[in-house]
Symmetry: C2
Subunit: 375 residues, 2 copies
């Protein structure tokens, strides 16, 4: 007999999709994969043999020092003793859910929002309320989960004013702010990126980010900091979850952060070119069928289909994959109880421009055909 929470645990569609992406010749707009062209060279020079021993649950101090510096630069008030190294930011979601969510807990989320956060919140029994960046409303929510900078899936970035508004809403309602910020280093245009938690006056908060997009996901490292009331619980939950994170990864990332030549700007410049090319392709092929905004950072375009095409894009995924093109139906990113919009999330960083042109052309044809054929 399984624990009742397991009935809330759905197979992730991303996961099933990722299996298909491996098929030779598949053009994929589906994953959130950073480009391997931007990965660093592996180097063990800075990895001392002692890193093979058990380590601290909080993470190794050298790395926590570096992370505290990064956070302070961003305006987040913390210190190395209030930094927790995570096995990727997905782990932070698990720990925060354990800390704050039980059956019936109301969580305010963006609609749409990050799919794998919903998966964890569902597991622990969450119900949902929407937070709209324009008219922020967090009534009744114990927790506000936000991905304010180059959101997955929409690419949306909160303005300075929206950041202040959400901070005030948390302060006024007493909800805990959980700010998830993994994409912030992939920035292509001028925009506000100041963490919302830095504007809070008295509400409790957790802020987390990741090295998966800015360095490499295979190393599986992220980090969080939190208000003093919450932090000690999160350390204990981390210890119970996996004792501590891989120390080889920690040492490698410490080393990379110390090197002058690890430049986020070069990486961002690479992605910016891909984004601009992708936008041109979309303008050629999707203008009659979808609307989108150019994302100022991150890895995704978010397309909403025009009203004359009333397709649930989940229904065309199989056909698209059979035609060698993978994408993420936007409908998957809506929490239970919220009606999804007909939409697609398209990753622009993985396919090279030639492949992107072929893939987008095929995908637009499928949407046009399926959206206009008689029932």
């Amino acid at each position: 007999m399984l624990a009742s929470r397991i009935h809330n645990l759905k197979e992730s569609p991303v996961r099933e999709l990722l299996k298909q992406i491996g098929t030779p010749g598949m053009i994929s707009f589906a994953g959130g994969l950073p480009s391997a062209d931007c990965f660093p060279e592996l180097d063990l020079a800075g990895v001392k043999p002692e890193k093979l021993q058990y380590g601290a649950s909080e993470g190794d101090l050298e790395l926590r020092n570096k992370v505290a510096d990064l956070l302070t630069e961003r305006g987040v008030s913390t210190d190395p003793d209030r930094v927790l190294i995570l096995s990727g930011s997905q782990q932070g979601i698990d720990l925060v859910a354990k800390l704050l969510i039980e059956s019936g807990t109301k969580v305010a989320v963006e609609t749409p929002t990050y799919l794998a956060a919903l998966q964890v919140f569902d597991l622990f029994g969450a119900n949902y309320a929407p937070i709209c960046p324009s008219s922020i409303e967090v009534s009744g929510a114990r927790l506000v989960y936000t991905n304010p900078t180059f959101q997955n899936p929409t690419g949306h970035c909160y303005s300075q004013q929206q950041r202040h508004e959400l901070a005030s809403a948390c302060d006024n309602s007493g909800a805990v702010l959980f700010e998830d910020d993994p994409y912030r280093d992939l920035v292509y245009d001028q925009c506000s990126r100041t963490p919302i938690c830095s504007y809070l006056r008295h509400s409790e908060w957790i802020y987390q980010s990741s090295f998966s997009k800015s360095i490499a996901p295979g190393l599986r490292l992220g980090y969080l900091t939190a208000s003093e009331t919450l932090f000690p619980h999160l350390v204990r939950l981390k210890q119970a979850a996996d004792l501590h994170s891989c120390r080889i990864s920690q040492a490698m990332i410490t080393q990379l952060l110390s090197m002058e030549n690890h430049s986020y700007r070069e990486i961002a410049s690479y992605y910016k070119d891909r984004r601009d090319t992708f936008d041109e392709l979309l303008s050629q092929m999707f203008e009659d069928i979808a609307v989108w905004q150019i994302p100022t950072g991150g890895l995704f375009f978010w397309l909403q289909l025009k009203p004359h095409l009333s397709i649930d894009t989940r229904t065309i995924l199989g056909k698209s994959i059979n035609n060698g093109v993978a994408f993420m139906p936007g409908e998957y990113f809506y929490p239970k109880g919220i009606k999804p919009v007909s939409s697609l999330r398209l990753n622009f960083s993985n396919a090279c421009p030639n492949q992107a042109a072929i893939g987008l052309s095929r995908l637009a044809d499928i949407i046009r055909y399926e959206g206009t054929k008689p029932e």
Copy 2:
């Protein structure tokens, strides 16, 4: 407002202890640290750059192939598609608890048992029943958690008959068997090590082990396999917990498992010498105050104090640490609701023989003094 489960989450005494162990000059019998003398050399030769990308939640296929071979050799019926790579075996405990334990679930455990398993089971609301290797009783338990081979903390190893008895008890009661087997490669004398799950006829089961003791804990890798009914849920829970484990670690361990010269026997021979020396020291210094058995494997001696010394050893830990000697009070390893025995867990692998002699002498003196002084 925190989730109610957080009230069950206690600070781990091991964790607090580990902080003290770092003090210069401290002689530590406290941790379960494998000896750094046995760690492999780090080598990136087999780590391809593609390992920096996101990977499969189950783990990389090359490593799953190796693990499936290891498991088959041990008599556990599985295949690479039913192997899940874990971020250390602590993670397996978290995943299994999520799958099977909710408020009030009865879990049968050895008394004493692994502290950090109790920490996780407590978090999810478990109650406990004892399983005694001699008269196995699993009545009313949904889950049976066992560490049958060189148990932490007692070092006990189930006989062949005890293994059959526990398997039968699970089959008869319908309880799920969760077999935790991280110490099995540290074997010093002839004894039965066949996994209990291999004797089951129809009960569901999870079997897990780790590379922390036989290779190196800093790489943070373990693995599990489970009956077909449970395995797919565990993969989803793994995905929700951290997407997948560090791929650099996975590649390094795959490489080490492929090398002819990575011999568990050499490592075991090193530990066996330490164990024998430690037993001699105990015979000289503890014969009047404690009883113990020589462990046939693993990293620990388990000492029960003689009846004339009625000490809760938690009360002498501070004094011992002030005298430069760290140990683990055995009382910590008992689940709530079970009266603990006056006992100590002593790790024999960390301190060199000279230091061990000094530390044990001091510790025996403290016990003799505290155990016989008038109230």
